[in-house]
């Protein structure tokens, strides 16, 4: 996903493979989305496939259920294909939500210091606690969960929210049913499929069987009608929301917590964008009374500190969160963290600690403010063009409505005609059809230029 990927190897027809089923046909060419070359690498399997040695290990049927590649590498492939077609185009990436602004000195200096210290006898450290360094856990608790009754040892430091989501799925196992918002961040559904919680993909409705998709649209204020859904075990809820940008109100989260309590469900609250909230919508699920018995929370330094490449996040699991037999969820998560993981990088953790110092917090708020200003520019642009625009107030994403249009078509049109990469709404689920997500991460001049091009296209 970095802009500096080399494109020296020719692509084969990659643009259509996103929509192609992933069932393997040995007689056709297989596209391997190997991103390091920024291209799809194909194995010419035609002649050799029949005589090639095959092990007797069956392919994991769960992975076979996935329809195509993960969404964001697919966007990257399209972008790279476009660059090949227009090598001189100044492509602007407002697709993948990748931070672009340098990390403030207050934070990198701590990481430099830690790196240097690793060369000294006094400063060298080997394995750290898998749950994270004490000081960092403590800082996270006091910065984000002060007065919410969350203790240091409820915090588990990780290498990021996406990884934590899969680890949580491993904790819960295959015999549970989840509910997601529709649209939602694709890792929730994809990890559920991989874990074996779902049935097959149903093409007609564009949904996997055995997942409850909770529609979130402008009509319901981007909050699901909880009365209409059947009881799930786990509810993934992201607020502020990726991709719609909607931040749930206190009333809505109270409803959600009550729903979970009444149904004995567990909420996985993804709060990765909480610091982007403008008003006083809750930043943590634990602001809602009773939430500690029904929810856990996942968050990340990625979008606050530009740590998308540095890799650092955390998950909070209160001691009061219990399985049906009374066993604490945190205990099983701890076992997973100790067995399936080995801690976040100690250098990244040093950076995280610096992020949570007064100076670091101020620096993060400045960068967040910068991206929020970008968001305003994008919102105003689409507003002025007469589009119905959502999000953008509490999140670095703008959710633009293109009524009656296929979102991949709009994505392709925008890319072809303005050289701007966005993300088609249907990539986030059928509830995203008719929408396009525009991310507000970018250098100011690129944001302004992109908006100029949008105005040109849609005037």
């Amino acid at each position: 996903m970095s802009i500096t990927q080399s494109l020296s190897t020719p692509l084969s027809s990659s643009s259509s493979t996103f929509l192609a089923p992933s069932t393997f046909n040995p007689r056709s060419q297989v596209a391997l989305p190997v991103k390091s070359l920024g291209v799809c690498k194909c194995i010419a399997a035609s002649q050799e496939a029949d005589t090639a040695y095959k092990t007797k290990v069956s392919r994991n049927g769960n992975i076979a259920k996935l329809q195509a590649g993960y969404l964001f590498p697919e966007i990257a492939r399209r972008r790279n294909a476009h660059l090949l077609k227009y090598p001189d185009a100044k492509v602007i990436s407002l697709g993948i939500g990748d931070t672009t602004e340098p990390i403030p000195d207050a934070i990198t200096s701590a990481m430099s210091k830690r790196s240097q210290a690793l060369s000294t006898i006094e400063g060298y450290s080997g394995y750290g606690a898998e749950q994270g360094e004490k000081a960092l856990r403590s800082a996270i608790a006091s910065t984000f969960y002060r007065d919410l009754g969350i203790e240091d040892d409820d915090i588990f430091v990780s290498d990021g929210a996406k990884c934590d989501i899969s680890r949580l799925q491993i904790v819960f196992g295959s015999n549970i049913k989840m509910a997601v918002q529709d649209p939602s961040y694709p890792a929730y559904v994809d990890s559920s499929v991989i874990m074996g919680q779902t049935g097959f993909y149903q093409k007609d409705v564009e949904k996997f069987a055995n997942i409850e998709y909770m529609r979130c649209n402008p009509e319901n204020g981007f909050f699901p009608d909880l009365s209409s859904i059947s009881r799930p075990d786990i509810i993934f809820f992201c607020s502020p929301n990726n991709p719609t940008g909607a931040a749930a109100t206190r009333e809505q989260l109270t409803q959600l917590v009550k729903f979970a309590k009444d149904n004995g469900s567990i909420i996985i609250h993804d709060s990765a964008y909480a610091m982007y909230i403008s008003g006083d919508n809750p930043r943590s699920i634990f602001e809602i009374p009773g939430a500690k018995e029904v929810a856990l929370e996942v968050s990340s330094f990625s979008k606050y500190a530009g740590f998308t490449g540095v890799r650092l996040g955390w998950t909070v699991i209160p001691k009061q969160l219990l399985f049906s037999d009374g066993f604490p969820v945190a205990k099983d998560f701890n076992r997973i963290v100790c067995t399936c993981f080995n801690g976040a990088s100690n250098i990244s953790q040093a950076g995280g600690l610096a992020c949570l110092s007064p100076e670091g917090l101020k620096a993060m708020q400045d960068v967040i403010g910068f991206y929020k200003d970008n968001t305003n520019i994008i919102v105003e642009t689409f507003d002025s063009l007469g589009f119905k625009v959502y999000g953008g107030k509490d999140a670095p994403y703008v959710w633009v409505h293109f009524p009656g249009r296929n979102s991949w078509d709009v994505f392709a049109e925008i890319l072809e005609k303005t050289h701007v990469v966005t993300t088609p709404g249907s990539g986030f689920g059928p509830g995203g059809e008719g929408f396009v997500r525009v991310s507000a991460f970018g250098h100011r001049e690129n944001i302004l230029e992109a908006c100029r091009r949008f105005k040109e296209l849609y005037k």
Binding site: S2, P26, L32, K35, S36, I43, A52, Y53, K54, T55, K56, V57, R59, N60, G61, Y70, I103, D105, M111, S112, S115, Q116, L118, S119, T120, G126, Y127, D159, K162, S166, I170, V171, F172, G173, S174, N175, D190, S191, R231, D233, A260, G264, I266, V294, T308, G309, V310, R311, L322, F323, S324, R335, C338, C340, N342, S345, N346, I347, S348, H443
Partner: protein
């Protein structure tokens, strides 16, 4: 378990229930903490968890510092990297470790360490297959198998999981399994040089293993995390064996040869020729897992890894390896001088000591109580580890020497 407050209605994952106790190494740590409470002034020497102790070479940390400083600049800032790892690092790994073995950079997947990759490989393979492990073995293979749902119930009587094939590796069979006795497992975890026994499989043994996999249609997951410690001409990679590309995946790590236990960096090689029974390439699905369940190793760690693989870096880490192997030699000599049968310590930083007729947790406890030295009881690695103790050679030289003296004294006392 009771429900005084609110219990959700979410059932606990029955696979988690099958785990017998905590993961081995935190358990060792618990014992250490209890011991410290009992003897707050004890000078504990930790030869338990295989944790590196020596500082990183400055040329490696300077590279990381430069990279970090770059993150504060417009030009040097980097966001998301490719989930498979930075191109330059993938290429360096392929060039340094797999030159002439036909492994391409595109077959190398950079990670945050072997323990994490093992679970991702289990996630890839799914619950409906059977694994074989060496017995004894690194506990993450069995534990991850249980967690993912492959292992069946634990059979108390034999101390084994019902659906796992335990391939005994003891001195009688030169620490190599009697493959003709093994049933046909889909996956075979094989670690060489071996943790905990320290044995490096010979070329002949690995040819047998590859042959066995080929005949049975199995996939070998070859853990080569300690290959940099090999001092003789034992193979360093499974891909040195002809035909391995069609039957094996290799997992490795910067932890033990570069001191990156806290920095977090490793890699997995999945050859393109490795196919499922329906002809589908394993690498395709592994890539999907890496893109969906992972988001790349820290770019700072990767910068450090690249520095390690430069000619200067390789020289620098080699001296670290030599340091730990000298530790191993000291420990082997000390223990052998007491008439104990000692294995390993030649191709790996672990010494595997036999205490015939003993229960390894008792030996562990006695050593801890009487010498304040932490080791690892062999049965923590499987029933095949009973009667053995693993002593790790990671430590500062004076601690190693001190530990040797204490052990010599204890065992001398016991003999007389």
């Amino acid at each position: 378990m009771s429900c005084a407050g609110h219990c959700t209605k979410v059932p606990r994952n029955s696979n988690m229930e099958k785990l017998q106790h905590g993961y081995l190494f935190p358990e060792i740590e618990r014992h250490e903490n209890m011991h410290l409470e009992k003897y707050p002034h004890a000078n504990i020497i930790d030869l338990g968890i295989g944790d590196t102790t020596e500082p990183l070479p400055t040329m490696v940390t300077s590279s990381m510092v430069d990279f970090v400083r770059g993150l504060s600049t417009s030009k040097g800032y980097k966001g998301y990297g490719p989930e498979q790892g930075e191109q330059a690092l993938r290429k360096a790994i392929a060039d340094v470790y797999y030159k002439d073995l036909g492994i391409k950079p595109t077959e190398v997947f950079v990670s945050d360490g072997a323990q994490c990759d093992i679970t991702r490989l289990q996630l890839l393979m799914g619950p409906n297959l059977k694994i074989a492990v060496q017995d004894p073995s690194f506990p993450a293979y069995i534990d991850s198998s249980v967690i993912i749902g492959q292992a069946g119930d634990f059979l108390d009587k034999v101390g084994k999981y019902k659906n796992i094939e335990y391939m005994k590796c003891g001195p009688q069979t030169n620490f190599f399994p009697e493959l003709h006795k093994a049933s046909r497992p889909e996956l075979i975890f094989f670690c060489s040089p071996n943790n905990p026994t320290g044995h490096a499989a010979t070329r002949k043994q690995l040819e047998q293993l590859v042959d066995f996999a080929k005949v049975n249609g199995s996939i070998i997951i070859y853990d080569s995390a300690y290959s940099a410690y090999i001092t003789d001409d034992s193979p360093k990679s499974i891909f040195e064996i002809p035909g391995a590309r069609e039957v094996a995946i290799e997992v490795s790590s910067f932890s033990k040869f570069a001191g990156f236990t806290g920095v977090r960096l490793g890699w997995t090689v999945v050859p393109e020729e490795l196919l499922y029974s329906n002809g589908f390439p394993v690498v395709h699905d592994f890539n999907r897992i890496m893109c969906t369940c992972f988001n790349g190793a820290s770019n700072i760690a990767q910068a450090g890894g690249l520095a390690c693989l430069s000619p200067e870096g390789l020289r620098a880490v080699k001296s670290l390896i030599n340091y730990y192997m000298e530790n191993a030699r000291i420990l082997v000599n000390a223990l052998a001088s007491l008439g104990l049968t000692v294995y390993g310590g030649k191709n790996a930083p672990y010494v595997w000591v036999h205490f015939p007729g003993s229960k390894s947790w008792n030996v562990f406890a006695e050593i801890l109580e009487k010498t304040h030295i932490i080791t690892v009881p062999g049965s923590g690695f499987g029933p095949g580890g009973e009667e053995y103790i693993r002593v790790s050679a990671f430590g500062q030289r004076d601690s190693i020497i001190e530990a040797s003296e204490r052990l010599k004294y204890l065992l001398y006392q016991q003999k007389n």
